[in-house]
């Protein structure tokens, strides 16, 4: 066994032992502990847990790689997945905390005094969470198979057992404290290689500054200028300018921001703190912890891209370093000597280009490309697993509480005892893990695409209903329900038409449909339009129907005031 493998095994085993230990220590004894960790989590712990919950396998493994190949356009993810927290902190978290229930469908159901609204919300929550969680389990399997050389399916099963253990046993309480540990593991694993490479390339130990610094080879050239030059030389677009249209960039960024603020597994984290002011503060801390990774990722993207071009472009294939052949066996990088000169031509023109690179390699192989020590390479696996497991656990909790609390307790069987509900929650968590694992082992081809679209769905359904519920006292149930249904259906329709080509002959037709995009907006950005339509429909229907009952308007008045629920019921 190589050094890298030994380190990987040791670090992964240590981190898993830590998670299991925390799970045993923080078992949940009541539904309140199971759903919202008893409501007594400190803002700092909640901030870290939210950050780990939020940063998935996609953030850890794929994002820097995506940016690496998209250049400026990668900003949609950077701004989209952080800017949503401003909306969350200012427009949602404090009021939902004051409302003080367990789930997002709870809020929708009570604010709109309707079981139909609650069921629609449960349905939206389940669609969003299931698509998202399948991607995480797949991520777990991939990390296992690439680093530990176990079969992908075995990897998924190991991941399932671990998540099952602490989610089913500990509920939100167990999940929260494991997520705190997972945040520490993942941020350490992401930052250490980034700092090493930053020092190597620019002599600056802070990656955020390093990628705007001059190269350490003494030439005095700025790294970004060099990368712009290399890119145009090979026929790619200039790294610092984009190729997507401005309106599409705008729409995608907005859809991701609003979607972030509407994702139930993120919102529910703010039910776990004690006071309204803690909800605000922990949103700020969460974004701070997220920003550490999100401002480093674009730097990693630049380092990795420059390193890759310099290492491979125009070089002899036979003289490639060891990592090249190792990653070739995984299929993440491939060379086809089209002109038979034994060298690697890496250019934009597809007929001449000889190198195909999977974007995930930019993070997974980055430490090897930069020739870092074995223990740093071993960290990546532990970090990727922490990112995937923490997000999966958060999503599973949303699924289980939607079923046990919103469907069983509130709609189907209101007489259920506290103990019965806790068991229902545990069983639905277990069933959800198994379904997620099934999708991880047999991934429908569209998982990756749908994960991105989960944001569009959240933007099109939840966000307007929650915002209107807080900021528009006279919003009634008819308006909110029609808005959610129309928004969700429109988003699903656009996805099916332009992402999967269902109405035009399947996946092959998708590329040809780009010219027909409404307003030139891609399916990824369409959540913005669907959200606007949701708002318009909701307000229009609301105008022609009755005002909500007095006591509901009183609820709205009440959630706007942060202090104790007791004094607000006065008149």
């Amino acid at each position: 066994m190589s050094d890298v493998q030994i380190w990987t095994y040791v670090l992964v085993a240590l981190s898993f032992g830590l998670y299991i230990g925390i799970a045993i220590w923080s078992r949940a004894g009541s539904t309140k502990e199971f759903y919202v960790a008893g409501g007594g989590v400190s803002p700092l712990a909640n901030g870290m847990a939210t950050a780990a919950d939020w940063m998935s396998a996609a953030s850890f493994i794929s994002m820097a790689g995506i940016i690496s190949f998209a250049g400026y356009d990668g900003a949609v993810y950077l701004m989209g997945w952080t800017g949503g927290y401003v909306l969350l902190a200012l427009l949602l978290a404090p009021y939902l905390r004051k409302f003080g229930k367990f789930t997002v469908p709870d809020f929708i159901g009570e604010r709109y005094y309707s079981k139909t609204a609650r069921v629609v919300a449960v349905f939206c929550a389940l669609i969003v969470s299931f698509t998202y969680v399948a991607g995480q389990m797949r991520g777990v399997g991939i990390v296992f198979s690439r680093y530990l050389e176990v079969d992908i399916n075995t990897g998924v099963v190991i991941g399932m057992v671990i998540v099952l253990f602490y989610a089913v046993l500990g509920g939100m309480k167990g999940i929260t404290y494991t997520q705190v540990a997972q945040y520490c593991v993942l941020i350490f694993a992401f930052m250490v290689p980034a700092i090493f490479i930053s020092i190597q390339m620019t002599g600056n130990p802070i990656p955020q500054l390093g990628f705007g610094d001059t190269l350490s080879d003494g030439s005095g050239t700025y790294l970004l200028d060099k990368l712009d030059g290399l890119s145009t030389e090979l026929g790619f677009a200039e790294y610092t300018s984009g190729s997507k249209s401005t309106i599409d960039i705008f729409a995608i960024t907005l859809a991701l921001m609003v979607g972030t603020a509407g994702l139930p597994h993120v919102i529910v984290r703010f039910f776990t703190v004690k006071r309204v002011r803690d909800a605000r503060k922990s949103a700020g801390l969460a974004l701070l912890f997220i920003a550490i990774l999100y401002t480093t990722a674009p730097a990693v993207a630049v380092f990795a891209r420059t390193n890759l071009i310099e290492t491979v472009s125009g070089k002899e294939y036979d003289e490639m370093p060891e990592w090249f052949s190792r990653w070739e066996t995984t299929g993440l990088i491939a060379h086809e000597d089209k002109n038979g000169d034994g060298k690697i031509q890496y250019v934009a023109a597809p007929e001449v280009n000889e190198l195909t690179v999977d974007r995930d390699i930019m993070v997974l192989a980055n430490p090897e490309i930069a020739d870092l020590p074995a223990w740093v390479i071993g960290l990546i696996a532990a970090g990727g697993l922490a990112a995937a497991l923490s997000t999966a656990a958060g999503l599973l909790l949303v699924i289980s509480s939607s079923v046990s609390h919103d469907l069983i307790k509130n709609v189907l069987n209101p007489g259920l005892s506290e103990k019965g509900e806790l068991w229902a929650a545990r069983i639905s968590a277990a069933v959800a893990v198994i379904i997620a694992g099934y999708f991880g082992i047999n991934p429908p081809g569209f998982v990756a695409a749908v994960v991105a679209l989960a944001f569009g769905l959240a933007a099109a359904s939840f966000f307007p209903a929650i915002i209107l519920g807080i900021f528009y006292k006279k919003m009634n149930s008819q308006g909110a329900i029609s808005g959610m249904v129309v928004g969700l259906c429109l988003m699903l329709f656009y996805m099916m038409k332009f992402k999967f080509g269902i109405f035009d002959g399947g996946q092959e037709a998708v590329a040809g449909l780009q010219g027909d995009w409404w307003f030139g907006i891609s399916p990824e950005g369409f959540g913005t339009i669907a959200m606007l339509v949701n708002f318009i429909v909701a307000i229009a229907v609301n105008t022609f129907t009755n005002d909500p009952p007095e006591d509901v308007q009183e609820i709205v008045e009440n959630i706007r005031i942060p202090s104790g629920a007791g004094e607000a019921v006065e008149h």
Partner: protein, 85 residues
């Protein structure tokens, strides 16, 4: 509870929200997207300014915005006696 007081509190809250969200919009959609080409003509070390706002600056501003909001609201809560210990 005093309805007037509640209304005043809510109004002040909305004022803060509009100012903070205007800044949120300006740094991301303004500097990072709509004005990116104009700002890219200005350089800050190795960074073109528009590119920097899109991939770095806007995120820093987001973090600052939330903490400013936390401070403003804690003060406001105290002013209206809505703070809880």
């Amino acid at each position: 509870m005093n309805t007037d007081l509640r209304k005043k509190y809510w109004k002040e809250n909305l004022k803060y929200l509009s100012i903070l969200l205007a800044i949120w919009f300006l740094v991301s959609y303004g500097f990072g997207i709509l004005l990116v080409d104009e700002l890219n003509t200005i350089r800050m070390g190795g960074f073109k300014l528009g590119f920097w706002f899109a991939q770095q600056g806007s995120i820093y501003v987001f973090v600052i915005l939330i903490f400013v909001y936390v401070r403003l609201m804690n003060k406001l809560d105290k002013k209206y006696g809505y703070n809880e210990e």
